[in-house]
């Protein structure tokens, strides 16, 4: 079996579900003939026809809105926003309608939609092409927000997202679209949409990260291991609903935690994770949770983007903070 990249796993999942379920369709800007600007839909139009894989005119509000009508009539649209930086005009329909249709009609109509978008920085792209605003979507009641971080998880989670009876915002970390290759059997097996993935077991500190930041986080864990520090690395993957209990389980062992994300810090999901740790594991913590995040600035043009993105060194520094925290400092 050939090894595939994360973006190829996305294609594979789309192809599987287009094949398996005739109500599934894929649309967006340049997803058809061109196969998507990142090639995530490469070959799909040829295989499934122009009726099921459609190029749209250029209007994100439209892309967000038509899905509601399609889905209410029983289709399962998978809509692509070309970059997360262009999803905002679509937010109104996602928030005001897709996320609310089932609730509004007391279950009469529903919106099994997947809104896909490549997200995150680090590919030296122009302005607006490096957004990480998952927190905006995760705050919206009725939505699910999913971020895969490996080819296998991209495949399994995207299948689950398409099959889910409710709307899912599926954010693909484009910096690692082609970072690793993995064997991903085209089995059609979905992964659960409400469980964390423990990517590495450890007893000394819990590192939580998702998407492309896992690259640096896992690298930091490797470095820590060289010093005899065993980090547990958790990928929540489904940011909403968040499987906090897997995180608490880990804290039972480690008592120390660092959250890493590329998004701006203020109001980022790191905050929610810390708040839930506060809710459920206050007594477990031996040091304040550290956040290693993007700054509360606009993602800079690409010459400075590496200074913006959380790096291995910063993660290591944060781990040192939590490990060195003076014990029992509480009053």
């Amino acid at each position: 079996m050939p090894e595939i990249t994360l973006v190829e796993a996305v294609t594979q999942a789309l192809a599987y579900e287009l094949q398996a379920d005739p109500t599934v369709l894929v649309y967006g800007q340049d997803v058809g003939v061109n196969g998507g600007v990142f090639r995530a839909t490469d070959g799909l139009q040829k295989k499934f026809g122009r009726e099921r894989v459609l190029d749209t005119p250029l209007a994100e509000n439209m892309i967000g809105g038509i899905a509601v009508g399609m889905a209410a009539m029983g289709l399962r649209p998978v809509a692509e926003f070309q970059f997360m930086g262009f999803i905002y005009p679509g937010l109104d329909h996602i928030l005001s309608h897709a996320a609310r249709y089932r609730n509004r009609t007391r279950g009469r109509l529903s919106c099994p939609i997947v809104y896909r978008a490549p997200y995150g920085g680090g590919i030296h792209a122009p302005e607006h092409h490096s957004e990480s605003t998952e927190a905006l979507f995760a705050h919206i009641p009725g939505l699910r927000v999913v971020v895969p971080s490996s080819p296998a998880r991209a495949y399994g989670l995207l299948l689950a997202a398409i099959r889910d009876p409710d709307p899912v915002v599926f954010l693909e970390p484009k910096r690692i679209y082609r970072a690793v290759r993995q064997e991903v059997p085209d089995s059609g097996e979905a992964l659960p949409l409400d469980r964390c993935f423990v990517l590495r077991e450890g007893t000394d500190v819990t590192l939580i990260a998702w998407g492309a930041s896992l690259k640096e986080t896992l690298r930091a864990a490797d470095k820590l291991a060289e010093d005899g520090i065993e980090a547990e690395v958790i990928d929540p993957a489904t940011l909403k609903p968040l499987d906090i209990h897997a995180i608490i389980d880990s804290l039972e062992k480690t008592h120390r935690c660092v959250v890493v994300h590329e998004a701006a810090r203020f109001g980022g999901l790191g905050a929610e994770i810390i708040a839930q740790i506060n809710d459920y594991a206050f007594d477990l913590l031996e040091a304040p949770v550290q956040r290693v995040t993007g700054y509360d600035t606009v993602m800079p043009y690409y010459r400075l983007e590496d200074r913006y993105l959380p790096g291995v060194e910063q993660i290591l520094a944060a781990v040192r903070e939590v490990l060195d925290y003076p014990n029992g400092g509480r009053p």
Binding site: A59, A67, G69, A72, S96, H97, Y101, G107, G142, D194
Partner: protein
Amino acid sequence: MHKPRMHLLASFDIARLQYLDEQGRATQELPDFATPDTLQALYRQMALARLVDDRAVKLQRTGQLGTYPSSLGQEAVGVGVGGALEKDDIYCPYYRETGALLERGVEIEEILAIWGGDERGQDYQHARLDLPLCIPIATQLLHATGVAFALKYKREQFGEPPRVAVTCAGEGATSRGDFFEAMNLAAVWRLPVVFVINNNQWAISVPRTEQTASKTIAQKAIAAGIPGLQVDGNDVIAVRAAVTDAVARARNGEGPALIEATCYRLCDHTTADDAGRYQPQDEVHAAWQCEPLARLGNYLRGEDLWGDEQEGELQRELAEVLERALQDFAERPAQKNSAMFDYLYARLPDAFIEQYDQLVGQ
């Protein structure tokens, strides 16, 4: 600069359709559907819409409803549009839709429930696939376009019979991008959808002339390359005829159309509004001379198809219908607290069970 020579690329005409003039006299031969029965039925439905609106406003005044948007004076648009669809077509309403909803078989008590702060009204017991009332202006136009896509898709992929989506919005909605994005996509994809604009001359306090500088709303169709037509929206026959025709074309694979129905909002924007602050009284007075119920009534009376006796009977019948609905509305048991979560997701994620329990325990 001296005037350069230009090459003509394209020309467009915008026309207006009317069958009954302001006095209720036929201005041309009526369309085939305009049998006495149908016209009487249209009259009945407009009268019902007016009655429901009137009562709903009163219920709001006495605290039994929340904010309510009356459609007083715009009954011909709602009833004319709602009646132009086949049962299996899909209607995608905005919020000022009492006439159309009644035509579609939505129950009076469902309409009251919605404005009475109870989502269950949106769970139409008939018209199961029609979209819910839509509050954010113009957004339903894109939903309708998505619906039309689904209808076309299901026809092509699964051999389902041809169906059409019809949607309505106010003229204020035409200032929003959604309107153009919807028409544009529907045109490119040749979707079976009909866009109807209820041009009642006002968007809350903003008059038509400050909403847009275009001479007509109908001409906005030209931007998308689809047919645009203005109809006299106080003439239910014209509305019904134009929409029926556009629906037939859409069903036949000929693509979308835009219909502007001109009328006048003879009421406050909603019960939360006081139109006296901005509507010129002479304009309102003039508009009353054109209102749709009297117009059709005058025509029917002129043709000896209606008289005081029938009117009396109708009003008695409608009053009964309304009272029954009010009773049903009053007797609805309250929703449980848990309803907030019960329909949020198909299956409540574990992560929210604690909140659910907390809410239910309240």
